[in-house]
């Protein structure tokens, strides 16, 4: 009976069971939860978070999870349907919900790849601003504490350490970015995933392919991008891991820019820290 009760609450012998629908959230939950929390990684690094749809087998995998962590800001349009399939003891937490949103604007040359990622909508890639990830850590700490009050001290201590690490990471990133002359801080990528990064760290942004990693580009949009990049003598354009680099290669060829090392947009790396370090290193090396 006691075992059943624990199972019902999502608190098994190995701790609190939770699930995650985004690889970067998985990393954050593991950092805050430590040994008290067992995380089912439904969406693993390298999977396309824009295209993912949970299958019956995924819902089964999440059956024991007390909390299902999602990124929010409509990155997971299937959440409403998923909610209908949950049991009473389960809840969905959209980690990015309380993080200040950035709207998708026309000047970002956004290509409306799908109804969720169009001009006027909200850019879901909030994690590229390190301060936002600090907020996310707080949200995760609060939710874990709510579900498992006995772990309060552990979650608070782990959260503090995680946020301190993020502070250090942000100080490092800002120091690196400061070595790029101000006039050269123009980030050209295919997938429009770096809006929060550009706003937080003072870059002008050109996203030639919109918000989806595999969106197509209209000829008019391509011509406009080429004209702008020629005018600004952009030295480097950045492709993205897991996205088709063809359009960027074409742009590079016509503008004389080089193609830089691929950036990570949606968390296809072993950790959040690794993603930021890799992106900042490649951007600085390309634009300095």
């Amino acid at each position: 009976m006691k075992w059943f009760l624990f199972l019902f609450l999502g608190l098994t012998a190995h701790g609190l069971d939770v699930a995650s629908l985004h690889p970067l959230i998985t990393d954050a939950v593991k950092q805050v939860g430590g040994n008290r929390v067992s995380v089912v990684e439904v969406v693993k690094p390298g999977m396309n978070v824009h295209k993912f749809q949970p299958k019956a087998s995924d819902i089964k995998k999440m059956a024991q999870a007390r909390i299902i962590f999602a990124s929010g800001k409509n990155l997971e349009p299937y959440l409403k349907g998923l909610k209908d399939n949950l049991q009473k003891h389960q809840s969905i937490v959209e980690v990015g919900r309380t993080i200040p949103s950035q709207k998708i604007s026309k000047k970002d040359q956004i290509y409306a790849c799908c109804p969720h990622h169009a001009v006027g909508g909200i850019d879901p890639h909030w994690w590229h601003n390190i301060s936002n990830m600090e907020r996310a850590i707080r949200v995760i700490e609060k939710e874990l504490t709510k579900a498992d009050p006995a772990g309060n001290t552990t979650y608070a201590a782990n959260s503090k350490v995680a946020r301190q690490r993020l502070d250090q990471l942000e100080a490092w990133a800002k120091g690196q970015i400061a070595t790029i002359p101000r006039g050269k801080r123009h980030l050209v990528t295919a997938h429009a995933a770096f809006g929060y990064f550009c706003k937080a760290y003072g870059f002008k942004a050109t996203f030639v392919q919109g918000l989806s990693a595999d969106g197509e580009v209209s000829a008019t949009q391509l011509a406009q991008s080429i004209q702008e990049l020629r005018k600004e003598a952009i030295p480097m354009v950045f492709p993205e891991k897991t996205a088709n680099p063809k359009v960027l290669q074409q742009i590079a060829k016509q503008t004389g820019a080089k193609v830089g090392k691929p950036l990570i947009a949606d968390g296809s790396s072993k950790s959040y820290q690794a993603m930021i370090q890799s992106n900042v290193t490649h951007i600085v090396a390309g634009l300095k």
């Binding site: 309380t98 969720h116 169009a118």
Partner: protein, 140 residues
């Protein structure tokens, strides 16, 4: 047998109506509306985390907004607070440090849900009371 004038007029209109109906469906399509994310900034109160970072531990600390006050214990570094929604908020901060504490700093960071973070560093020797106003241009 000749058709009645009404039948003769209506019969040629049938194929036109058959074509017109789907055409009207296409023409009258509503303009695309981007999906909006639920706005967290609604309701009369703003929920926010108030974080503090100290160079030296304090003895007592209180933050007052309007008629509500929150006291921080020396080992506390964050509190969830609620205050009236608006584009500005004024915090009255009072701190007392233990004797022999040198002139020191206390950093306050206000993280309202869905709204940009604001921060302020307060300096004091022994004790300090300061009124701090945070404003947002583009927020409710």
């Amino acid at each position: 047998m000749t058709k009645s004038p009404l039948t003769a007029t209506l019969i040629p209109l049938i194929p036109l109506a058959a074509l017109g109906w789907p055409l009207a469906k296409v023409i009258n399509q509503k303009a695309y509306q981007p999906v909006e994310v639920e706005d967290v900034a609604t309701g009369p109160l703003t929920t926010a985390d108030l974080e503090i970072n100290t160079a030296h531990p304090f003895k007592e600390m209180t933050v007052t907004i309007g008629g509500s006050s929150w006291s921080f214990a020396p080992d506390e570094d964050v509190k969830e607070i609620h205050y009236e929604r608006g584009s500005r908020v004024t915090l009255l901060v009072s701190v007392i440090w233990p004797e022999d504490t040198p002139k020191t700093a206390l950093r306050l960071e206000l993280l309202p849900e869905g709204i940009e973070t604001r921060s302020y560093t307060l300096w004091g020797l022994g004790e300090a009371t300061e009124e701090i106003t945070f404003t947002w241009d583009d927020q409710p």
